[in-house]
């Protein structure tokens, strides 16, 4: 599985560290325990296309948002995390 890093080009996935689903958004500080528990522990875990956070540990050390299909491992988009609107 290869990831097209915007700075470094096409690299093997083993150069990267996987964080997980990029969709969960940290709740505001006053959102309450339930919201925080859901944010920390619950995941959609879809069989299909998802946005994921990958960190290019052995390259440019940027955080990326990778759009990947978990059924086929096909990657359809790679963006710098800081350029992804949240």
């Amino acid at each position: 599985m290869r990831i097209d890093c915007p700075f470094c080009g096409s690299r093997d996935a083993s150069e990267f560290t996987y964080r997980g689903d990029a969709r969960p958004m940290r709740p505001s500080a006053d959102a309450g325990e339930q919201a925080f528990a859901d944010y920390v522990y619950l995941r959609d875990n879809v069989a299909g296309v998802m946005d994921e956070h990958w960190y290019h540990a052995q390259g440019c050390r940027n955080w990326l948002v990778v759009t990947r299909d978990t059924r086929t491992h096909v990657i359809s988009a790679v963006r710098l995390a800081r350029e992804v609107r949240r």
Partner: protein, 418 residues
């Protein structure tokens, strides 16, 4: 029920093997049952068996989307053990180990339970201390554990690379009662036992949704073979837990990850038991057919593909070469991947779901095979009585929010680190 014995084997041999009965009934689904189990793997079939045999509940259907045992039950590395470290885990896995020890007699089925020993190698003083601590935790829970020094390991496995400069072998933690079992046979044995007690095993039947009453209570499942009604539905679908739970509007503390495993060509017996490398991701045993059965860590990213990538293959083989260079010339025969339901603390969930009528058995990560008997026992107990079995009382779904995590590796809420 046709009992298997040396006499039935001899009689059938003389009759040209024409009178063997089907091992389980290929049932046609009824319109409703008392209990429906979603998932025809080891855990689902064991649950149905114990519902019938222990609780007398046999108006039960096991629904399997493909063929029984075609998921992780058909893909694992066959290890059984109870050498855990935490109090939330030890009673459960030891109950499972105890059930393994009586399983073949109970099921009248040869599951090839082989208590050949599980040896965890250690490579530093600090690691030995950590293993001693785990061994003591095991013994405090009545589980057998021995701490071997280097000589003790040499006597068991003289072929290991003891004087490797980076990872010298200092000793190991041994559970003699641990070992292996033939994974397919476990599925078939439980299927036969359940079917003989009246449980309907329905293959090629995929659950596509749940039907609910006005008050939200589950009333049945929609499947590819029609609607099936049931007041109690137990989900035991391993890596697909999030997908099935989502049909009931639930999100789980689970990420599905790929774990790869490997089998070599058959060679003469060289590996005496189960051996795990303490300095890298590699563990190995040898099947009775002669193939080396080995694996390492999960790939590390969410996956439902049932295959992984080559860097892990390389990493696992490097571990094998570092530990036991003698296997280097064996050829790799096949490799595969499964779908691991990795939880946020690395430990399983056996609990009622937040939806009335629904029961959840999930989160087995990469360690579900050894849990098969106790998982079935405890899930059946929960479904039949509404109360958790004492050995599984800590496997609650709400433990995450409540801070009562069972985190053997101490890694926190990052599934791919467990």
């Amino acid at each position: 029920m046709m009992r298997y014995s040396i006499f039935s084997l001899a009689a059938n041999a003389l009759n040209g093997h024409r009178r063997w009965q089907a091992t389980w009934r290929d049932a046609t689904p009824a319109s409703e049952y008392d209990v429906v189990i979603v998932g025809g793997g080891g855990h689902g079939l064991a649950t149905a068996y114990y519902l019938a045999s222990v609780h007398g509940i046999n108006r039960v259907a096991v629904l399997e989307k493909n063929w029984i045992g075609g998921g992780n039950a058909g893909r694992n590395t066959t290890i059984i053990r109870s050498n855990y470290g935490l109090g939330g885990n030890l009673p459960f896995y030891e109950w499972s180990m105890t059930l393994w020890e009586g399983l073949e007699q109970a099921l009248n089925y040869n599951a090839m339970v082989s208590q050949r020993g599980v040896l965890n190698l250690c490579h530093s003083d600090a690691q030995r201390d950590a293993y001693a601590r785990r061994g003591n935790a095991m013994r405090l829970h009545g589980v057998d554990a021995e701490l071997l020094d280097e000589q003790g390991v040499r006597r068991m496995a003289p072929f290991l690379n003891f004087d490797q400069a980076r990872f010298p072998i200092k000793g190991g933690l041994l559970q003699r009662r641990g070992g292996t079992a033939r994974h397919d046979a476990v599925v078939w044995g439980y299927a036969r036992g359940a079917s003989d007690r009246g449980v309907d095993i329905i293959q090629n039947c995929e659950v596509t949704g749940f039907t609910r009453a006005a008050d939200g209570r589950i009333t049945g499942v929609e499947t590819t073979r029609g609607h099936i009604g049931a007041g109690k539905i137990g989900i035991a679908v391993a890596g697909n837990s999030s997908r099935v739970a989502a049909m009931a509007g639930l999100r789980l503390p689970i990420e599905s990850h790929v774990l790869q495993a490997f089998v070599s060509e058959a060679i003469k017996p060289v590996i005496p038991g189960v051996i795990t490398f303490g300095a890298g991701h590699f563990y190995i045993s040898q099947s009775d057919k002669g193939g080396l059965v080995f694996g390492g860590d999960i790939d590390g990213y969410n996956s439902y593909a049932q295959r992984g990538n080559l860097p892990v293959v390389e990493d696992v083989c490097e571990g094998g070469m570092a530990l036991m260079p003698m296997i280097g010339r064996a050829r790799l025969l096949r490799s595969w991947g499964g779908i691991m339901d990795m939880t946020m603390d690395g430990s399983p969930i056996i609990d009622v779901a937040p939806v009335p009528g629904l029961y959840l058995n999930a989160g087995w990560c990469y360690g579900g095979f050894k849990a098969t008997p106790a998982s079935g026992w405890c899930f059946a107990h929960l479904i039949a009585t509404g109360q958790p079995h004492e050995t599984a009382a800590a496997y609650r779904l709400d433990r995450f929010a409540a801070g009562r995590l069972i985190d053997e590796k101490g890694q926190g809420a990052q599934p791919n680190l467990h």
